[in-house]
Symmetry: C2
Subunit: 483 residues, 2 copies
């Protein structure tokens, strides 16, 4: 799990998921690491030491994600990770997203794989297959949570890669993969949320939801529960976890009904979660005030006019299409990314289609994978400038603007990623933001998640970072103007 | 496995079992440790470093087995084991036979359990059940190979204790436990040989035999192979072992038929075993010349006459019965144990029934669990003295004597436990010894194995050590004379 995607602070994340039966979580603080560097990882390690939830931290392996963007954390090397790896809550190396780096033996990647060769290394290899997948597995990477197709899962399992079935807020793989989950495969399959927003957790549940859905899809209950607990605990070498047995930690979920996963009460380390008094979390690092950018002039948000490359948003997918169109065609909106780590760079401007023909206003966010610069989509530079100014002012968050007025806003002061508010408050604020998005006639029901992936230059096919428009297949920055 | 029970040197053990598809073995050098102390464990660690077989060494936890016997290795403490635990082939703590020591928190036992709390600790808890078993499991002990009954296995499994199904030369549990082995339980069940003599391995096979038998008993082949490889590798945290996958060690058994486990060829680390050139094993420790005793006078082998406690041998069982009888009753033979570690003690003498009414002569051995003093059964003190003298002369072994003449002998110069000869030669010599045992009209077909357990004072109910006759239930030495 990326805790940051819950928008919750570690303390509130714990409160929200413990009651849902998630007593242990394996996290990758990849987002905060891109904002704050090694301190971002250290922040979660320190939090984990004080938390009641058993939070294990995989050390982020790919910061920054690419050389085509500017993050705040700089480059995290193997030698940066080494001191962190000795922390008792440090579990291994987090998802190795740099698949080409593994295959072509990038020295930085190899150094990390060697450093962590005796502990678990998580993978991230969507659609990788054949000899490439074999090489990736042979590098010692032993799990993947980016599997979307049954045949892809079977190949990974046959190559010794455990498959974590993901059901996030955007990427949802449970329907496709649940049919594979049987007793024979259960030791090498588990569940994960990856990026799950607090509304979904609030409304549907957390891992309990995945177990419930898997059982509803026909997975035998004993198989689903085994995968959700014992299998993952064994995979990560957590002794005394994942079973009800003498000497095991009493992390127990008491159910009124096993098949519907109707939770009665939850115990963590033998204590009813309702009776747990949270210990205060004191981090050595201040992760607020991370939005360091000047409010841009409206003119700086103006992209080139004429025939341009346009990013085509596909609702519910983090993949994008692309096309060439006139910059003033109906439904084509402006998209800008503004560096937010004190470089005083001007915004990079491009175009996007898919937010709706009637869209009128601006929507902005400081959550933009993986570097988390400020990203704004809008129909006029005035609203866009207002939205960016508002986020710069509050230290990051989400906002919706029309007629230079902020209609709705959620502040995320921790790294521009997380809120100090509890889940119930955030859920309400997100509902309000969604309503505001409808008010500006945005046709995408979940525009912030969608926006967050428009800056991620490792997912095809056309993305915008603070350095420019990225042709992902060519893996280079291209001119917004079409030839 | 106790390699010593194969009577083979590590080099010859490797040669014998590799061809049968045992490419990795987890051993407990408990026997040599009782003879030679920490050096006995070190001997196997050094051997493992040079061997082609992947021999992992569990560090012997219970040397000596009891305070009712005298071994050569003295007492091995947690601090003695600590330096050994850093060896790359050291895997964990070997079978914790001292169940009362665990339950009553013997400080020496607790110190060892704590020292090894982060690595596997093997168990040994025959018939332990209920709260005692829960406490034993809670102490961090995670396997047992001493399970003989299905309900016993189910309780252990439910308490997080992996069950290794044993098929040794005396103790045979496969028929009883194979019916439990299914896909759901397979991750927590495996196979082991414990004490298996070279004749059985030569005639029937090694782990391949257990897999073959399990399949014949109805275990699905995929379950039997999983348990024999992946499950055990995962239990012991051996990464890159136990499956056919990229990056895994190419320890492969090529089969002509999966169900009959008809082995075509075996590869160890990618090399056909037929092409492996063994590296010489140089141990820093000489484990020969370990039989340090004076040849006893005949009179010293004479036990008290009259009404005596008689050990009742049960063929094919390491448990004994007991009864009170006249020392000169038909079928009652003399039994003596002579300390062999330089204490110049006199033999301890008692009586045994079950070797046959017509038995006439003596059978002696330097293999006598767990302290491996010299043990001899006979019908007259002259033959018994001759047998002991012959073993003292050759540094240990097995022999059969009649009319003061050695009819057959196998020398075991390594610790009085192992031979330098290859398996095929030992098999022939054992056949010859069996024939000699028939010549002296011994009715037990495998008298040396039976003899070896008559000195083990942890198995009920009446045993003889170098210190006297042990009432195992009372756990004390009693007078041979019956009240």
């Amino acid at each position: 799990v990326h805790v940051e995607s819950s928008l919750l602070s570690p303390a509130n994340f714990e409160k929200e998921v413990l009651r849902l039966g998630t007593t242990t979580a394996v996290c990758d603080p990849h987002e905060l690491a891109n904002v704050a560097g090694v301190n971002g990882i250290q922040y979660f390690l320190e939090a984990s030491a004080a938390m009641s939830l058993d939070l294990r931290v995989m050390l982020s392996s790919c910061v920054p994600a690419t050389h085509l963007e500017t993050n705040g954390g700089g480059k995290i090397s193997a030698s940066d990770l080494l001191p962190l790896s000795r922390h008792p809550k440090a579990l291994g190396l987090a998802e190795m997203m740099n698949v080409p780096g593994v295959l072509y033996e990038d020295p930085d990647v190899i150094e990390k794989l060697e450093l962590f060769s005796s502990v678990p290394i998580d993978g991230h290899c969507p659609l990788v297959t054949g000899a490439a997948l074999s090489a990736y597995a042979a590098a010692g990477i032993s799990s993947c949570h980016e599997t979307t197709r049954p045949e892809e899962a079977l190949e990974k399992l046959s190559k010794g890669i455990s498959v974590w079935i993901r059901e996030g807020s955007v990427a949802k793989d449970l329907n496709a993969l649940a049919p594979l989950l049987n007793m024979a495969r259960s030791p090498a399959m588990g569940f994960c949320t990856d990026d799950r927003n607090p509304l979904d957790t609030f409304n549907e549940g957390h891992i309990d939801y995945l177990v419930r859905r898997a059982i509803a899809l026909g997975v035998p209950a004993e198989v689903a529960f085994r995968s959700a607990s014992w299998s993952v605990a064994r995979h990560y070498g957590m002794s005394g976890k994942g079973a009800v047995a003498p000497g095991y930690t009493a992390d127990l979920v008491l159910l009124n009904d096993a098949k519907t996963v109707a939770i009665d009460r939850v115990l963590r380390a033998g204590v009813f979660t309702s009776e747990i008094v949270p210990r205060p979390i004191h981090a050595s690092f201040d992760v607020t005030n991370t939005v360091k950018a000047h409010r841009p002039a409206e003119v700086d948000l103006e992209g080139p006019a004429g025939n341009v490359h346009v990013i085509e948003v596909k609702e519910g997918s983090i993949l994008t299409g692309r096309r060439i169109a006139r910059s003033d065609s109906p439904g084509v909106a402006k998209l800008s990314v503004l560096a937010r780590y004190g470089t005083n760079a001007k915004p990079c401007n491009a175009y996007v289609h898919g937010f709706g023909d009637g869209f009128s206003g601006a929507i902005a966010s400081s959550v933009g994978h993986d570097s988390h610069n400020l990203i704004v989509v809008g129909t006029n530079t005035k609203d866009m400038a207002t939205a960016l100014a508002s986020l710069i002012e509050c230290g990051g968050g989400f906002c919706v603007v029309r007629d230079a007025t902020v209609l709705s806003q959620l502040e995320l002061p921790f790294g521009g990623l997380m809120s100090p508010e509890p889940a119930s408050v955030i859920a309400k604020r997100l509902m309000h933001l969604r309503e505001a998005a409808r008010t500006v006639r945005c046709e995408i029901p979940e525009p912030f998640l969608q926006l967050a992936f428009l800056s991620l230059p490792v997912i095809p096919s056309l993305k915008l970072t603070d350095r420019g428009l990225v042709d992902v297949e060519a893996f280079k920055i291209i001119d917004v103007r079409a030839a």
